[in-house]
């Protein structure tokens, strides 16, 4: 249970008067061109906004939904389903630790504990210097290399607790 961060809605930052930037709008329209149905562009559109802002604020949902022609409730369903669409601000680097079964057998718990110790934050939290955010993730498809983790787009594994410090240092 200690893995579960407590989400306090009141703590979430609010983006007042949200508007999509020209670039975001352009990328969303580009994505729309790939599909016969606006709904299919949901993930691309969310990723476009995340690319520019690092995360997808609540206030962005109705705007993106309008841009792709589906209801906000529909888009919110997609935006809360996928764990790689971030709904809170994240640090410069996002660490995703595989907590699925193979990695559980090959040292996940030690790896997690070491990360928590080094970073001083729990899952779902960001270090005060805004450098790292720590998240659990399900199987990264690299079971033969457990225990694994992914930092930004890089896969690391097998990772021994002793390797953690050096790996973290390489992300400025």
């Amino acid at each position: 249970m200690s893995d579960t961060p407590v989400l306090k809605l009141a703590d979430l930052p609010k983006a007042q008067g949200f508007a999509l930037s020209e670039e975001e709008r352009h990328e969303i329209e580009h994505a729309l061109g790939h599909y016969p149905d606006g709904r299919a562009a949901s993930i691309d559109a969310l990723k476009a906004v995340q690319k520019h802002r690092g995360w997808v604020p609540d206030e962005a949902i109705p705007e993106i939904a309008k841009a792709i022609g589906i209801s906000a409730a529909d888009l919110e369903g997609v935006a809360t389903f996928y764990s790689l669409i971030f709904r809170r601000p994240v640090g410069r680097h996002v660490i995703k630790v595989c907590d699925s079964i193979s990695c559980h057998l090959t040292g996940y718990e030690e790896l997690r504990d070491e990360l928590v110790k080094q970073l001083g934050v729990q899952y779902g939290q960001t270090t005060p210097d805004n450098r790292y955010t720590l998240l659990p993730i399900c199987c990264l498809g690299a079971c033969d290399r457990g225990a694994t983790m992914m930092i930004d787009d890089d896969l690391h594994g097998p990772v021994e607790p002793a390797d953690v410090k050096a790996i973290l240092e390489s992300y400025k």
Binding site: D58, I61, A73, D74, E76, T80, S83
Partner: protein, 899 residues
Amino acid sequence: MAKIHVDGNTYEVNGADNLLQACLSLGLDIPYFCWHPALDSVGACRQCAVKQYKDADDKNGRLVMSCMTPASDNTYISIADDEAKEFRETIVSLLMTNHPHDCPVCEEGGHCHLQDMTVMTGHHSRDYRFTKRTHQNQYLGPFIGHEMNRCISCYRCVRYYRDYAGGKDLGVFGSAANVYFGRETEGVLESEFSGNLTEVCPTGVFTDKTHSERYTRKWDMQFAPAICTGCAVGCNISPGERYGEVRRIENRYHSELNGYFLCDRGRFGYGHANLKNRPTHALVREGDSFVTKHRGEGVNLGAQLLKSGKTVIGIGSPRASLEANHALRSLVGAGNFYSGASAQDASLTALCLKVLREGPVPAATIKRIDQADAVLVLGEDTLGTAARVALALRQAARGKLQTMSTEKKVPDWQAASAADIAQHELNPLFIATPMATKLDEIAAATLRADADGLAALGNAVAHALDASAPAVSADADTAALAQRIADTLKAAKKPLIVSGTGCGSAAVIEAAANVAYALAKLNAETAISLAVPEANSLGLAMFGAPDLDAALARLNGQEAVVLVLENDLSRRASASALDAAFAQSTVIAIDHQQTATTATAALVLPAASFAEGDGTWVNFEGRAQRSFQTYDPAYYDRHVATQESWRWIAQLRTALGQPAWSKLDEVIADAEAAIPALKGIAQAAPNAEFRIDGAKLARAPQRQSGRTAARANIFVHEPKATQDPDSPLAFSMEGINSTHAVERPAALIPFAWSPGWNSPSAWNKFQAEVGGAMKGGDSGVHLFRHNGAAPYFPLRAAGQDGLRLLPLHQHFGSEELSAKAAPIQERTAQAYVAINVADAQRLGIEHQSQTRVEFGDYSLSLPAKVRVDLPAGSVGLPAGLAGIPPLVAGAAVRLGKGG
């Protein structure tokens, strides 16, 4: 038909069903959550597992989801198998992992499908010891309460709200063990059919908020088989009463009409019956105020007034029962009885009646609308005038899904596969109305036009279908659209035409009839649906009585005694016309509401609300349905003089020395004899002598508690339960209650309950096939059949130019009685005037600016809504809203800037 073998027994079932539906239809109990007869199967909850065997010799078998397995011939299954039982018990315990076990404070408790299924599977004790996930709840408006912790993630809510009802603002968020059903941000649920969530959700997540404040368990309420008076669809409802108040309304299943679903006006608009300002005693005018009198004094005074030697006339009402209207007619004499509908409403309703009764096309039931595969809507925004039709039209469009999946040999109950096959494909729905409607989003094409333009389109379609239909000159666009509509309707198997009195135009109704008539020559499956103004408009039209305007012309300021029945005349005629006509009249008003008419009466006699009296109503397809009394208000306060209008009139007759009826069946027999068109209404329900095993049928559940103490605060002596001379129902838990003993006639089932089935799912037990017709047949009787052939209606001359009034019927607020309910008022818009953008520019009227609106002898100041969809020349006013006087469609209007 298919033979299936269940636990060693062989049964005949419908082979097109899935095993769950087939077994439930046989009366066998299999627990389930995500399946619903109207929503079909997705196999999401895994609760309905049974063991299936390859053949008679297979001893091992495998677990299958019964809702996802066809009931094909020679299927061998076991429900009782130990492994299947254990699996089902495990599933319910998993689903209950995060459930708060808060039944004692949960408003679903006692009519909860989750409770019933948990008991059925034998999951008796909680075995999850850890912290449960919790959710924050949302404010969803005045109708629906939200308690997400109780969710078992069955997905029924979103499948109903989004897929079935076309709602946009309810979604499912998150994933895995953290799934949330609600709005993107909290706020009022927008769908006009949101109330059905309270029944679709098998748990206490979505509950009836209007019931919440004065809550009573289902087992402690008293019910009756009643008919909704919110519009002329006549949905079947089950009002629940406790301590002399209607506490809530639930759906009462009818396979041809409402099915499982009501609209929010009908479900949440009952508050008028509980208003504290209702008349409950005879009120006698003394100067400027009323003095309270007993029933007998009221009757005597009324009789004196009627004997005064002055002309006596009676004004009936389309919101009163046939019996009440007939009683009044027989008291004053046919020559002195007026329908009480405005001249326009009366003539348009009479036209609809003529089309349905003399035309070659049957009036569509809701079920028939569901099944239509091509629809032309001409002039009617059904959401405002016959809401359940709007929900059915969505099913008609969605019907494409069934056709396409059948073509691909996927059973149509495979909801997810069918949706994947159909994607966004819909059956064609053409919507030609003065203003945009909510259904436009699923329309194949829309047309915005005034009555003349709509009639022209309709007649062009009719002519394109049949060259002998009157030819109309239409512009190229209209002609092209008409040809497209004609081709589509012609290609359809079950085409449907929808119209009605909503836009106030006889030309539109006639054009719709012409389309239907032309189509009927090509396709005998053609149907028509015509919305009429009020719950009993069609029934009243069958009296053939002159209208309210004729009554006013007759009165013309002369001395007279006028008996006004359940009618607020100020909603139907202008104040000046009423003042002039009634200048020398003495009014006796019989009503259950305080109205502008009761305020001017010399004598007010308190009538029964829909929950306090019985009566027969004729719906928009000509079906007579009996609505039964839910409770006796005098049981809680014996001084209360409230009684059915026909009883007041019977007592007046007795006081005048005339023979009178003493029970409902006598009024009904008399009405049938006096008005040939009403012949058959007695068959709408069994009469008061009907018994099962010599007993009456109970209005209250067997376990109702505290009936004997319900009025102990008044007097310790317990009176005997009120006797009911008018129906075979008893005001008690004593009497026939079971689903097993005998098949009860559908018209006499006050609420859904069967042993082990406390939720609305208990309807399963009353249906011949689950989701199909009731065992004893669905209730109600058609008073007429369509006819062989009828001539086309000739074209009418175009209406006059200039700015013309267009009544806009609102789902919330336009209907008189529901508009008095507080939760409906919360959803009712402020009065406004809708103006076409070109008209507004010409007159210099800005959007939302205060605008002067003048017509007849009214001069109103209203905020303007400048609209592009409204045809030029049409001035829309929301009918029936506070601050809006009676409207005559097509009347000349003047608009001016400023208040």
